[in-house]
């Protein structure tokens, strides 16, 4: 009536061994979710921090360049035939965006973009008679003349 089978010693039940995999799978999934959440958080913060660092560095460089702008402004000529002579004795190029005339505040006597390289001079003809100042792209205002 019986049936003779051969089984390995230690496995007398004839049934497959049960494996405890469910708990491990749950743990792996939970850990994966946690890792994804943490990584996304850290990535977002690092990205924002990187962007801020770049902006702060750019601002620092602008301020440093602003401090290196050294211009002398001389006005030659009289009346309507005056010329502003700009001399850059600094180490950075200066970009002139306007020549301003002091008159009840300030009025523009010249507008444009003029680059004055280091150790070079540039002339700008203006047709006004008030005290003149050169405004640079970095916000420095250099006065000259009377």
């Amino acid at each position: 009536m019986g049936r003779v089978v051969r089984v390995e010693a230690g496995d007398v039940s004839g049934r497959p061994l049960r494996r405890e995999e469910n708990g491990t799978a749950v743990l792996v999934i939970v850990m994966a979710l946690l890792i994804v959440v943490v990584l996304s958080f850290v990535t977002a913060v690092l990205r924002a921090n990187s962007s801020y660092t770049y902006s702060a560095k750019l601002a620092s460089e602008l301020e440093a360049q602003r401090g290196k702008e050294l211009l002398t402004v001389a006005v030659v000529g009289v009346g309507e035939n005056r010329t502003v002579k700009l001399s850059n004795y600094g180490t950075e190029a200066a970009v002139i965006v306007a020549i301003l005339e002091k008159r009840d505040g300030m009025r523009p006597a010249w507008q444009g973009l003029l680059v004055v390289p280091p150790l070079e001079n540039r002339d700008i003809a203006v047709g006004t008679s008030g005290k003149l100042g050169a405004l640079t792209a970095l916000g420095n205002l250099f006065w000259g003349g009377t």
Partner: protein, 214 residues
């Protein structure tokens, strides 16, 4: 290791029709399908009768349970996934406010700092006109981002400029935004005293304080 020989007897549970092989010689055996204690003799006889008829065992409530065994394993796996998903979703929903507020707080602070560092205002000139009772301040933005002026103070008192104009073109500026590389002329009522302080606050919380007067 040398295999050893064990005699196994086919038995069938009369409760659930589960068929298995047992090596037990005890009077009572435990069904590996439903876990019930049943008589070994009864299980042997039930198996013999069922298979002697050459038919499948009669259908009963145990049959359903046996046939659904494979389904229940897949179902349990799906249930585990559903529970994990629900738990993860619940955890996300519960902690979303805190996590997002922390993350948003950090990122907002960094973004505001970034905006502030890109707004670089400087006072390039000031002019008093006592006859007209006005004070003109010329502010230049040498940064890389628009600076929106939200509040203006003269000597710690909030004040509104009479008007804000472009310093070069003379056009009125109505939105109080100082663009990059733009010179603006702000006209105020002439304040009292010899020395005054002009304070500007931009949208991203940058503060600029300048000493006016000689």
């Amino acid at each position: 290791m040398k295999p050893m020989t064990i005699e196994l007897f086919p038995v069938q549970c009369p409760k659930c029709d589960h068929v298995w092989h047992t090596r037990s010689t005890c009077d009572l055996i435990t069904c590996s399908g439903c876990g019930r204690k049943i008589s070994r003799e009864q299980a042997l006889r039930y198996y013999a009768v069922s298979h002697a008829r050459g038919k499948t065992p009669k259908r009963g409530r145990g049959r359903l349970r046996r046939d659904q065994r494979g389904v229940s394993e897949a179902l349990s796996a799906i249930m585990i996934l559903v529970i994990i998903g629900a738990a993860a979703f619940g955890y996300y929903e519960i902690t979303r406010g805190t996590t997002e507020s922390q993350q948003a707080g950090l990122i907002d602070m960094l973004a505001a700092s970034e905006h502030r560092s890109a707004q670089l205002l400087t006072l390039v000139y000031q002019a008093e006109n006592r006859a007209a009772g006005t004070l003109k301040a010329y502010v230049y933005n040498y940064g890389t981002e628009d600076a929106e002026l939200v509040r203006t103070f003269i000597d710690n008192a909030a004040t509104q400029p009479r008007h804000i104009r472009d310093g070069l073109s003379g056009d009125a500026i109505t939105d109080s935004i100082v663009e990059p590389k733009q010179l603006v002329e702000m006209t105020f009522d002439l304040p009292q005293g010899e020395v005054n302080y002009l304070t500007l606050e931009t949208r991203w919380g940058a503060w600029y304080v300048w000493r006016l007067g000689t």
